[in-house]
Every structure is written in C-alpha cells, then in structure tokens.
C-alpha cells in the first residue's frame, strides 16, 4: 500500500468551474459601487413617487374612474368592446406619464434587488467573521 501521506498528496485537483472567476469579479464590482447604487436607488424611488403622484392626479382630473365604471356596466367580450376599451384608455390615461411611471418602477425594483443582495451578503460576513472554535 502507498504511504497515506503520498496518497493524500496524489489526490487530483478538481476542475475549476467556468463561470466562477467572472462571478467573483462581478460581485466585487457591485460592492465597489454600493453607495453609488444606494444614491441611484434613492433618486429612482423619488422618481417613482413623483411620477405616481402625477399619474394619479391626471387620472383623477380626467374623470377616468367614473368613465371606466360606467363602461364596464355594459361588459360584453367582443372586438368592439375591446377596441372601445383601448380608446377609453388612450383618452383618459396619459400614456406618457404611465410609461414613465412603469419604467421607473421596474428600474427601482431591479436596483433594489441588487442592493439588497449586497446587504444580505454583508450580514453573512458579519455573522461568520467571528472566531471559529475548533472543538
């Protein structure tokens, strides 16, 4: 039998996973821009709030709620109804404000996810940085 020392020494290396290097570099890059990310997130959330308020104000002013309410009283699923519905949407809801709101909302969600991924990792580092007892 080979000596145990030799057998441990001769254990082969396992193949290094393809994407791991990139994953580490990306995580570090994200961490480097953490505070910038937080600043961008604050601005985008502010935008979501403002565009949401503007959208709400324009919908309320245009009387869209009453118009949609009376429209759905005569609900009937056919081509004319659907075409009238989109006409109503275009008339009463400012599509420009709606698209700004939706884009900002999606952007805020994405940046928030990136930011909370970093925060979650920070929590892990904090907990596992304590000295390990080898018992």
């Amino acid at each position: 039998m080979d000596k145990i020392e030799q057998r441990i020494k001769n254990i082969n290396d396992i193949e290094f996973p393809d994407g791991l290097h990139g994953r580490i570099v990306r995580s570090i890059a994200m961490r480097r821009y953490r505070w910038q990310l937080l600043a961008v997130l604050s601005v985008v959330i502010f935008n979501v709030g403002i565009s949401g308020l503007r959208l709400h104000a324009s919908i309320s002013e245009s009387g869209a709620i009453q118009a949609f309410g009376s429209f759905f009283v005569n609900f009937d699923m056919n081509y004319n109804f659907v075409s009238d519905f989109w006409g109503l949407v275009a008339d009463y809801i400012p599509l420009h404000s709606l698209s700004i709101f939706l884009v900002n909302f999606a952007l805020a969600g994405y940046i928030a996810k990136l930011y909370f991924d970093i925060v979650k990792y920070d929590g892990y580092v904090e907990r596992s940085s304590k000295v390990i007892q080898f018992d």
């Binding site: 441990i8 290094f16 080898f134």
Partner: protein, 194 residues
C-alpha cells in the same frame, strides 16, 4: 510584481491588484475548499466568499505576510462555519451515500478506485482532522502555519495530524477488507455455478 507589492496596492483599493491575487489563488483555494466540503457547489460558494472577504477586509492585510495564509485562514473559517450550521440543522457535512465528484485520473501512478477510497475516507474524518491532514500533506503548509490558520497550538496540530492518519488508516483498511470479501464472494458464486 511580487505579492508584497500586490497587497500594498490592494490595500490602497487597486482593483487590478485584487484580480491578480484572484487569478493566482482562486484555483488553489477552490481545490482546498473542495477537499474540506467534498461538494462542488459548496466549494464554489466558499471560494467566492473568501475572495469577497479579501476585498472587504483588505485594509487589515499585512504586506509582509502576503495574502496566501490569510486566504487559507478565511477559507477554513468559512468552511467550519458551514459545518457548524449544518450540524445545528442535523445535516452532516458529507453525505455517506453521495457520489464524490472525482475527476478522471490520467496518471498511471493513480488508480480511480484508490483515489475514490482516499477521498471517501477523508470525507468521513472529523473536519478538524481532515483539515489538518489536507493542509499538511496536500497544501504543504508547516505545523506553525496550520496552527495559525486553525488558531490552535502547534502540538495540537501534530495531534490532529496523527489522529487523522490513524483514523484514515483504519478506514482504508476497512475498504480493503470489504473489497477482498466482495471479491471472495464473487469467486465463491462462480465456483458454485461450475
């Protein structure tokens, strides 16, 4: 550029210095992590967390000591943290029934069965014994360096290595006995058929 310079640059926040250290140590740390956990996914996570921590704690590095020992210490700590969590969740670090992700062996010196035996036996050791054996025989660290990684006295390192070797010998002997018995049973069956 030598490692001292790289560490000085990293401390100053140089990302290129970090990437150079990453390229130099990612493979050894990944393999070390695999020898500790015996799971590829765990080894990947452990490697990633080790290097993230290198970047986070770069200001605490000592250029004269380099990054190698620091990385092994941190990888060891993270692995033991993982073991503790699994122990609390009643999940063993190594699943006895799990297939080891052993790569194909090309050298004529090796033989797949023997490599699997030693890996399987290592996986059954206590983590502290396994760790000391891997660090000493596979990674070529000195007793003193291992003592620093594991935060234990040198004599305890020697004890871990000795006990680990004894346990490993017993396990390998068991495997050999099992194999011999298996071969004998097969021969007996063949004889009975004839």
């Amino acid at each position: 550029m030598d490692e001292r310079e790289l560490v000085i640059k990293l401390k100053a926040g140089d990302f290129e210095a970090f990437e150079e250290l990453l390229l130099k140590y990612e493979k050894p740390i990944f393999n070390y992590a695999y020898r500790l956990t015996f799971k590829k996914a765990d080894a990947e996570d452990l490697t990633q967390e080790t290097f993230l921590r290198l970047y986070d704690k770069r200001k605490t590095l000592d250029p004269d000591k380099g990054a190698k020992n620091w990385l092994y210490t941190v990888a060891t700590n993270i692995a033991f943290d993982l073991f503790r969590k699994r122990k609390r969740a009643n999940e063993l670090p190594i699943d006895d029934n799990e297939e080891f992700e052993t790569i194909a062996v090309s050298s004529p010196y090796h033989n797949i069965e023997r490599v699997k035996d030693i890996e399987s036996a290592l996986g059954k050791l206590k983590p502290k014994h396994r760790n000391a054996l891997v660090l000493f025989y596979k990674e070529d660290f000195t007793y003193e360096e291992i003592g620093v990684f594991l935060e234990i006295p040198v004599n305890t390192v020697k004890t871990y290595i000795r006990r680990g070797k004894e346990a490993l010998k017993e396990l390998l002997l068991d495997y050999d006995t099992e194999k011999t018995n298996g071969q004998n049973r097969t021969k007996d069956k063949k004889h009975k058929r004839h």
